[in-house]
């Protein structure tokens, strides 16, 4: 490359003061850029971050390396989805075309304690990953409650902080929870709806709801707000112990899971995937609010679960059931919980993946999942 000399423009030497001022200016620019980076990274700001959420989970549930930070106690299952094709008019997702799609799932109990004793009052979840051979996968996590107790990441965090056990009693401080609910009328309303629907006897007869809203988009580009639910096609068979008694004397540690295991070994379990079509006026950004009962449902097909295994050997353990893993044809709504869940699940997955070599065996053992251990 030819060098260009324009010797007519020799810069005037800087005075000492000029030089110092310019060095100070450069230093200031570096500082401002770095401070901005630190602020955006959440280190020196009061806002709620993924790290603060992880800290709150640990404060509420203790440290359990290798386990999910929430819904820590779980069981792997596998099966398939027989799509009816009825949802294909509303969504171009391959999973809704008529046919069979393999899936991996996980049943779990809410909370960060991987060795908690099964209790009917604990929120139950069903998570599914649909893997169509010729399309994009779909992951969804659903709970057996009709609405969610909070409608924002901040609300979830405050609820978590309020549920932190008091070191003196080992139980959450009722005053803290009361104070939290007092500040969150949406939670008070949601808890009333949740309490009005008593928990069923087991996993097998639970209806699992998406809670968050999504949007289905069809090949013409038409978009409709939806929520979905997995509705059981069987009753729960109760084998382990009395279904109505959560007292520690009679409660068997894994009784809900053991009942589920026994039932899957007996016969495959099935849930109908019902998609509720919302109207434009139905709230999509507030998971604490139920949609009116008269909204139409699409019978998208049937989920069949025929295999069960412990998390220690099952394929579900390494799956992050991120609600934003959606195929084209299913899109997120404006529900802020979707971003919050996706972000927090990702951080939880990163932590537990790193801890995997140090993870103790799960509460439900591989022998138990084979149906060998009888309570």
């Amino acid at each position: 490359m030819k060098q260009i000399h324009d010797s007519g423009k020799v810069p005037r030497p800087l005075t000492a003061a000029q030089r110092s001022a310019r060095i100070a200016l450069i230093g200031a620019v570096m500082l401002i850029v770095t401070a901005l980076f630190v602020f955006v990274g959440g280190w020196r700001s009061a806002r709620l971050t993924q790290s603060r959420m992880m800290t709150a989970f640990q404060a509420a549930s203790g440290s359990h390396p290798g386990f999910r930070r929430n819904h820590a106690k779980g069981l792997c299952v596998a099966g398939w989805f027989d799509s009816s094709g009825q949802a294909a008019a509303w969504s171009k997702a391959v999973v809704f075309e008529p046919g069979r799609v393999p899936l991996i799932g996980r049943f779990a109990l809410a909370g960060g304690m991987p060795f908690q004793t099964d209790a009917l009052s604990t929120v139950r979840s069903m998570a599914l990953r649909f893997s169509p051979a010729s399309g994009h996968e779909w992951r969804t996590g659903m709970n057996n409650i009709p609405v969610f107790a909070v409608n924002s990441a901040q609300g979830f965090y405050e609820q978590l902080v309020a549920s932190k056990p008091d070191p003196a009693t080992g139980k959450p401080d009722p005053a803290a929870m009361k104070e939290f609910v007092g500040r969150h009328p949406e939670t008070a309303r949601a808890v009333a709806i949740i309490k009005a629907q008593p928990a069923t006897a087991g996993f097998a007869d639970s209806t699992f709801n998406s809670l968050d809203a999504f949007r289905l988009v069809n090949s013409a580009g038409a978009s409709v707000p939806v929520r979905w639910a997995a509705v059981p096609l069987q009753a729960a068979v109760i084998q382990a112990s009395s279904p109505d008694d959560d007292s520690p004397q009679t409660a068997h540690g894994n009784r809900l899971f053991d009942d589920l295991i026994a039932q899957i070994h007996e016969h495959p379990l099935q849930w109908r995937l019902l998609i509720t079509l919302g109207r434009p006026e139905d709230p999509t950004a507030d998971a604490t609010v139920a949609w009116p009962d008269d909204r139409p449902h699409i019978d998208a097909g049937v989920v069949t679960i025929d295999q069960v295994s412990s998390e220690d050997t099952g394929a579900c353990a390494d799956i992050n059931f991120d609600p934003l893993v959606l195929p084209p044809g299913i899109e997120p709504s404006d529900d802020p919980l979707l971003s919050a869940r996706s972000a927090v699940y990702a951080r939880s997955f990163t932590l537990r993946a790193a801890e995997k070599p140090a993870k103790p065996p799960s509460a439900v053992t591989p022998r138990e999942a084979q149906g060998v251990v009888k309570p």
Binding site: L25, A343, V344
Partner: protein, 180 residues
């Protein structure tokens, strides 16, 4: 003093400045996204992945361009230590322009997580499923991003030093768009 006023070729300046904007945006976007639980999170993630791949493609184009259009030599007036720092930081920046997107792609592959670029456009995995490997790569992605941010700050400060203190034409060799 102005012994050196050669400019970077036009293509090199275009690549430099477009990538500068993209990389700085990416660093802030990445660090913000890794902290966020807000509704912005999904938007940030949906920009982060295609932008990262765009940087990877442009980095390859830039490397080829550098071989075709070599940069002008640094002025003879620059002390050897500063020359070394300039060369070393440029090697680090080139390595990271390739390394960060590749580690990001590799880590999502190992998770495994769908590598969505836009809509139905996905990238294939480049590593087999391995959660422990994912965790290591995820951490590496963060550390490399911090190294890149630090290198960017030093690079930016050096550019200002050339512009405001040394005034030796190095800044103008990249920042001047005047016809001549």
């Amino acid at each position: 003093m102005k012994s050196h006023a050669a400019r970077f070729p036009f293509m090199s300046r275009c690549l430099h400045w477009s990538m500068a904007v993209m990389i700085v945006a990416m660093l802030f976007l990445g660090v913000g996204m890794a902290a966020s639980v807000s509704p912005r999170y999904q938007l940030l993630v949906s920009i982060h992945r295609p932008l990262g791949i765009a940087i990877l493609i442009l980095a390859a184009a830039r490397l080829v361009n550098r071989l075709v259009n070599p940069p002008p030599p640094l002025p003879h007036t620059m002390p050897p230590l500063q020359r070394f720092a300039a060369d070393a930081s440029h090697y680090v920046l080139y390595a990271l322009m390739f390394g960060l997107p590749l580690v990001g792609w590799a880590m999502l592959s190992a998770e495994p997580y769908p590598i969505v670029i836009f809509g139905a456009l996905h990238l294939p995995p480049i590593l087999p499923e391995n959660p422990v490997l994912y965790a290591g790569l995820r951490r590496l992605h963060t550390y490399l991003a911090y190294v890149m941010f630090a290198t960017f700050v030093v690079h930016f400060a050096a550019a200002l030093m050339h512009a405001l203190i040394r005034r030796d034409g190095v800044f103008e060799s990249m920042a001047s768009w005047r016809r001549r």
